[in-house]
């Protein structure tokens, strides 16, 4: 959940606010009462007759302090930008929003209800907002039930892009860095390791989104190490990652390629199918681990340490494994359950799942996206999350460096 230590209100001033010194007066007034401000927009008129407009975010430590400041600056022409409550319409059908519904971003959002600003829970992009009495949350289209109170229009809604909350000089501050394979990785890996540790120290969860290349390239043992060190709290993946991880545990190969010799084995192309089949016969991954059939690997470590995993099916799956959720909407619902409390998300070697998870996450959760394909990394960064760091790299070398970095600084 986004940290919200302050009381905030947005005010607007228009007129000859610079020449009349009214803008200075208001800003001085805010400061002298112990508040802070953020000038969101200052549009200066060009000629003496033209007016100027200032959009000011007023920040105070307590609601009372905020009200006192607002009361003092109001006579000087600083008026609330949102003088109205949010507007809602009752949903008339299941599974669809009313026309004109407000479409959410992944930024922290508040709506004004009975004159008070309340935080919208479960922040997620491309959703609507449902108001239940005095609480509000983002809901996807499919979750709308007839009779739900849905926010419409643009009034009484304010959105807080995370840029305003970033003040530190770290890698994650440089959001606009271009994606390129030709960048020093050491810094990136160091920052990711540090971010993961910080999240854990703050009591937040670390989420890992993993593609099958993690196992193919030999990165499975590094993921196991991360789990052992308590640095992964939930895994999102597909059928393939789990399948080849189990194939490795059972046959020592992935897609039939031996980990010892790096060469395809005879009849190796059947190993993954036999692995899926065996798991199905044993009653699932958890049972396979508990009964001792599966003795190593990512799934094994996750089951042993009770790390939850959500496996989402796709149209090209073999099998699939029993734990794979084949209903897409059910998968999304299951994934959403794990998002609250997450502080960091590491995405390695999967385009599909990275984008799917990226779309579910609120903007303030830091994301690191690692892929050998620059297009995947670009795509993730373009989606609008300003908190994504992209690294163009093969999966195993990255994971190896990450584990080394974490071990170094432990």
């Amino acid at each position: 959940m986004a940290a919200k230590a302050h009381s905030v209100e947005h005010v607007v001033m228009t007129g000859h606010i610079v020449d009349s010194l009214l803008l200075s007066k208001v800003l001085d007034s805010i400061r002298s009462r112990g508040g802070k401000y953020h000038l969101h927009g200052l549009v200066l008129g060009e000629n003496p007759d033209d007016i100027s407009t200032a959009s000011i975010e007023v920040i105070a430590d307590t609601p009372d302090q905020l009200q006192a400041i607002l009361k003092e600056i109001h006579p000087h022409g600083a008026v609330p930008r949102h003088p109205h409550d949010v507007k809602t319409v009752v949903a008339d059908v299941d599974g669809a929003f009313p026309d004109g519904f407000y479409c959410s971003t992944n930024f922290r959002t508040e709506i004004r209800v009975h004159g008070k600003w309340i935080e919208v829970l479960d922040q997620e992009m491309d959703c609507g907002i449902r108001l239940d009495g005095e609480s509000a949350r983002c809901i996807p289209m499919t979750a709308v039930a007839k009779g739900d109170c849905i926010v419409v229009g643009q009034n009484g809604i304010r959105v807080f892009p995370p840029d305003a909350e970033i003040r530190r000089h770290e890698l994650f501050e440089f959001m606009a860095s271009p994606v390129s394979s030709e960048r020093p990785k050491g810094v990136s890996v160091r920052e990711i390791a540090a971010a993961m540790k910080r999240a854990k120290a703050a009591g937040e969860k670390v989420m890992a989104v993993l593609g099958p290349a993690v196992v193919h390239t030999g990165g499975g043992e590094h993921v196991v190490e991360l789990i052992r060190r308590g640095l992964i709290d939930v895994i999102f993946a597909g059928n393939a990652l789990a399948t080849h991880d189990l194939e490795q545990a059972l046959y020592g190969t992935s897609l039939g390629v031996s980990f010892d010799r790096g060469l395809p084995t005879s009849e190796g192309h059947e190993h993954h199918l036999r692995a899926i089949n065996s798991i199905r016969r044993w009653g699932g991954i958890a049972k396979a681990v508990e009964s001792g059939h599966v003795k190593s690997g990512i799934m094994h470590e996750a089951v042993k340490r009770k790390i939850p995993f959500v496996l989402c099916g796709s149209i090209r799956d073999d099998g699939p494994l029993p734990e794979v959720i084949t209903d897409i909407l059910a998968s999304q619902t299951e994934m959403r359950k794990h998002i609250p409390g997450t502080g960091f998300c590491l995405m390695v070697a999967t385009t599909l799942h990275s984008i799917a998870v990226g779309n579910l996450l609120p903007a303030w959760i830091k994301v690191a996206c690692v892929d050998i394909n620059p297009a995947t990394v670009t795509k993730l960064m373009d989606r609008g999350s300003s908190q994504t760091v992209g690294i163009v790299s093969d999966a195993e070398p990255f994971l190896r460096s990450l584990v080394a970095e974490i071990a170094k600084s432990s």
């Binding site: 007129g15 020449d19 009349s20 010194l21 007066k25 003496p48 007759d49 006579p75 022409g77």
Partner: protein
């Protein structure tokens, strides 16, 4: 104002008449608004509204006793060739008492009676630059009690009626600012009527008179103490129909038939 000091009716009428005659002696035409029962402050016509060319922006008063004056003012201006305009709801404004042109700029007083937003609305309607000034001294509750433009770039003012911001704005935008001392300001010396190069003000302001003459204007004193008790003086009792002396726009064409002949 101090209503507990009852104004002596006859004396007040004599003082008012003297003011009117003084104005007429300068060649100006005076229109009279008939008094109305129950409207004791109707005499302070400066607050009727703000005039800009042929538009009359009718005041929106905070207090009911003055709000009831507005229909009378509106009727007069409509009948005399002006377009009557109204401020939006919840936009309080007390006319030429709180907004005064000095050159191109409309200086405006806010806090006690008029709102900043009203001034800004007005400025937008007229297409002029408006510089609102906070009136920080409750005794000077209208701008015209502490600020008086005499000509473009020249004005009287009482420094203590404003805060540092206000004083800085005035010093920046009015090249010749004449300060009026405490004693004479309390006699509402700043509440003066400028016609041509003559400045009519309350009696008992010798220092003010001297400063006015120093810059080449003519000072004329009229005793208006009965009105001081009600919180007003010369300027408050008048409303310039063809644009204030110091307003740049009055050099331009107006539709209004009355005009001021320059003093001989």
């Amino acid at each position: 104002m101090n209503r507990s000091l009852g104004a002596v009716r006859d004396l007040a009428f004599r003082q008012w008449t003297k003011l009117r005659e003084t104005i007429q002696s300068l060649g100006a035409t005076v229109e009279i608004l008939p008094p109305q029962p129950g409207l004791p402050d109707l005499v302070f016509t400066a607050n009727a509204g703000l005039i800009f060319h042929d538009r009359f922006f009718s005041s929106r008063f905070k207090h009911d006793v003055r709000a009831r004056e507005s229909p009378h003012f509106d009727a007069w201006f409509a009948a005399n060739g002006f377009t009557v305009m109204h401020f939006p709801e919840n936009h309080y404004h007390e006319g030429a008492g709180d907004a005064l042109f000095c050159g191109e700029i409309l200086f405006a007083g806010y806090r006690t009676r008029s709102d900043v937003l009203s001034h800004q609305w007005l400025a937008e309607q007229c297409g002029v630059q408006c510089l609102p000034l906070e009136l920080v001294n409750p005794r000077f509750y209208h701008l015209d009690t502490c600020f008086c433009p005499l000509a473009p770039g020249i004005a009287l003012y009482h420094p203590d009626a404003f805060d540092t911001y206000g004083r800085r704005v005035l010093h920046t935008h009015v090249p010749t600012l004449i300060p009026v001392n405490d004693a004479e300001s309390l006699r509402f010396g700043c509440n003066a009527v400028a016609i041509g190069k003559t400045v009519i003000h309350n009696s008992g302001c010798p220092e003010l008179a001297r400063r006015i003459e120093e810059i080449g204007f003519r000072s004329v004193e009229v005793e208006l103490d009965e009105f001081l008790k009600a919180g007003g003086s010369a300027k408050c009792l008048t409303l310039r129909l063809d644009g204030e002396e110091a307003a740049s726009w009055r050099g331009h064409e107006t539709n209004h038939p009355e005009s001021t002949k320059p003093p001989g």
